[in-house]
């Protein structure tokens, strides 16, 4: 067997089709453009008042709630909302708190008081716990958490006070635009194909082997099993999921359990590594798109 290891394409043979957009393109404002000739509105994000005019300060789509007008930027970092599920990476260990990168403008905070410490039930945090901070979470560790509060400056405070949150073990992290993640009731999915995903509202997606919660007692702990080897089947499913999600994201399709499962199923005709090719990625995205469309019609 001599598989092709190197594949060099020529630019002019590139396909540049995109997934069709079903809705009409909304009006897009550019910075400095007049939104409204009179300033009788409440000024909010992405707008400013210049004389009598209300103008856009970012490129994006106008949104209006009564008198409140704001412009939602096309590209944006994550703006947290209370109750959002996020996946984040610990960047700094401080006294009593961890700094967590959640793809927002500012690092988020996870206070030691807003997490379940080993031992299960709520208990008083002692000085010992503070000294052990690095034992629980250290720089580089990944966690899943919920947004507890949004501060004035936009920074978030997180909590992991539920067994479904906590430190993440072996798996793959993907980063996509936060706007591609569709808001759903549930962001934790155990997919039938044999892997679990967490679709963080912040655009961080976590793919991991399905954990048997009954045996291992939930993911809410702070233990990692570093010796366990993920089986080949699971690994293949995870890699395929990864490439499918990236294919959908490349075509700017929204990500939620159904779209991902469909993409996974449509991708079966390709080898996992073939899904890195732009043409095949587009094909998977298109097939998924049509399947979602036809389902909406029925």
């Amino acid at each position: 067997m001599m598989a092709e290891n190197v594949c060099i394409n020529v630019a002019y043979q590139r396909t540049t089709f995109t997934v069709p957009i079903s809705q009409p393109t909304p009006r897009i404002y550019t910075p400095g453009e007049v939104i409204s000739p009179h300033a009788g509105f409440i000024v909010s994000h992405g707008t400013y008042i210049d004389g009598d005019y209300l103008k856009a300060s970012v490129a994006g789509v106008k949104e209006q709630v009564d008198k409140l007008v704001y412009v939602r930027p096309l590209k944006n970092r994550y703006n947290g909302e209370i109750g959002d599920v996020v996946v984040g990476r610990v960047t700094e260990v401080q006294q009593k708190r961890w700094k967590v990168d959640t793809n927002s403008r500012l690092d988020s905070n996870l206070l030691i008081s807003s997490m379940n410490l080993p031992g299960g039930e709520l208990r008083r945090r002692s000085v010992e716990d503070e000294k052990m901070m690095r034992k629980f979470l250290q720089e580089g560790d990944l966690i899943s958490a919920e947004v507890q509060n949004v501060f004035d400056d936009g920074s978030l405070s997180l909590h992991t006070r539920s067994l479904k949150y906590g430190k993440l073990s072996q798996g793959i992290l993907l980063t996509v635009f936060p706007s591609l993640i569709r808001r759903r009731k549930n962001h934790f999915h155990d997919l039938h194909c044999g892997a679990s995903i967490i679709l963080g509202n912040n655009g961080f997606i976590w793919i991991s082997p399905t954990i048997n919660t009954e045996v291992e007692g939930g993911a809410g702990g702070f233990t990692q099993n570093l010796d366990k080897e993920v089986s080949m089947e699971e690994r293949e499913v995870m890699a395929r999921l990864r490439n499918c999600i990236l294919a959908l994201a490349a075509s700017k399709m929204s990500l939620y359990d159904t779209s991902i499962v469909y993409a996974f199923e449509e991708s079966q005709k390709y080898k996992v590594s073939e899904l890195l090719d732009a043409e095949n990625m587009l094909d998977v995205a298109l097939m998924t798109y049509h399947r979602l469309e036809s389902q909406e019609e029925t």
């Binding site: 590139r14 990476r89 793959i172 490439n243 899904l275």
Partner: protein
């Protein structure tokens, strides 16, 4: 380049994947991500090429100018590489941050192209001891997504392949002054032979095995990598060991074998792609860079 921060568990996952010959994106250890090449995209350059390797984007322009040959090598032209790691590519290159990497890449390239069996510098000679062509190969890193050495070498080879050196109609010495007459026909030019020019293959050691074309995450799991310059005939012309780690004899020998066989494959694939592109001629649609 600054390494990506990873948790231990993620590293373990990558390590086991490499061991099982099934990486996070489904590739085998010796598989490259898709590469795209385009030549002739800068009109003012004598030759140019763009290579996109996953999300690494490299633009190379070749300028030909006239120079006097060095006294030690009167029959040879000159070839000079310059790599620009601009801060556009990644904030880590800001200020002098990219300088070290840039010199490393250009040094490796000049070493790889130095040998006379690799690139015939004599073909750039106009009048021995008096005048010669000097090729300035300028490499611009537009986007840095890892695996720079391999991408740069592909782009350089394509750009030199694309280079058109004007034909000299006559060259005479008149009273110690050189008189050059270039051909009037702008389409009268000579091209350069790159058939034995090398490509660089980087092998990154992860755990006990080595992989090619690592992702940023994989790069964070590695301490040492070996860059090999390999010609189409499978000859190794330059070796560079990078990183702060060391290698066991068996690992190194294994890397050499894998690297050369991949180098042969890469040279062939590039040749085929360049031929295909040339066959399309002037009428092909141009994409330009960063698209």
């Amino acid at each position: 380049m600054a390494l990506k921060l990873l948790s231990d568990a993620e590293k373990v996952f990558i390590l086991h994947g490499v061991k099982d010959d099934f990486r996070c994106d489904g590739r085998t250890r010796q598989e490259y991500r898709p590469i795209e090449v385009e030549t002739e995209i800068v009109s003012n350059a004598s030759g140019s090429a763009r290579v996109r390797l996953a999300n690494t984007d490299i633009l190379v322009g070749v300028k030909t100018e006239i120079d006097t040959p060095s006294p030690t090598k009167p029959n040879e032209g000159k070839l000079e590489f310059f790599v620009d790691c601009s801060a556009n590519a990644t904030p880590a290159f800001e200020g002098r941050g990219g300088e070290e990497l840039a010199t490393e890449i250009s040094n490796t390239l000049s070493k790889a192209y130095l040998c006379e069996t690799v690139f015939d510098l004599q073909s750039l000679c106009i009048l021995p001891g008096q005048q010669c062509w000097k090729l300035y190969v300028d490499i611009l890193i537009l986007e840095c997504g890892g695996n720079l050495f391999d991408g740069v070498s592909l782009a350089v080879k394509s750009a030199i392949y694309n280079t058109k050196v004007p034909r000299i109609a006559s060259a005479t010495i008149d009273g110690g002054v050189v008189d050059l007459q270039l051909s009037d026909d702008p389409y009268d030019f000579q091209t350069l032979d790159v058939s034995s020019a090398p490509v660089l293959v980087t092998l990154t050691k992860i755990g006990e095995r080595c992989v090619v074309d690592p992702t940023a995450e994989e790069e964070a799991c590695s301490l040492v990598s070996v860059v090999l310059a390999v010609t189409e005939k499978g000859r190794c012309v330059t070796t560079l060991v990078r990183g702060e780690g060391s290698l066991h004899e068996d690992t190194l020998i294994d890397m050499l074998k894998v690297g050369t066989s991949l180098g042969i494959e890469m040279n062939k694939a590039l040749k085929a792609a360049l031929k295909l592109e040339q066959s399309k001629g002037e009428n092909k649609e141009r994409f330009g860079f960063l698209k």
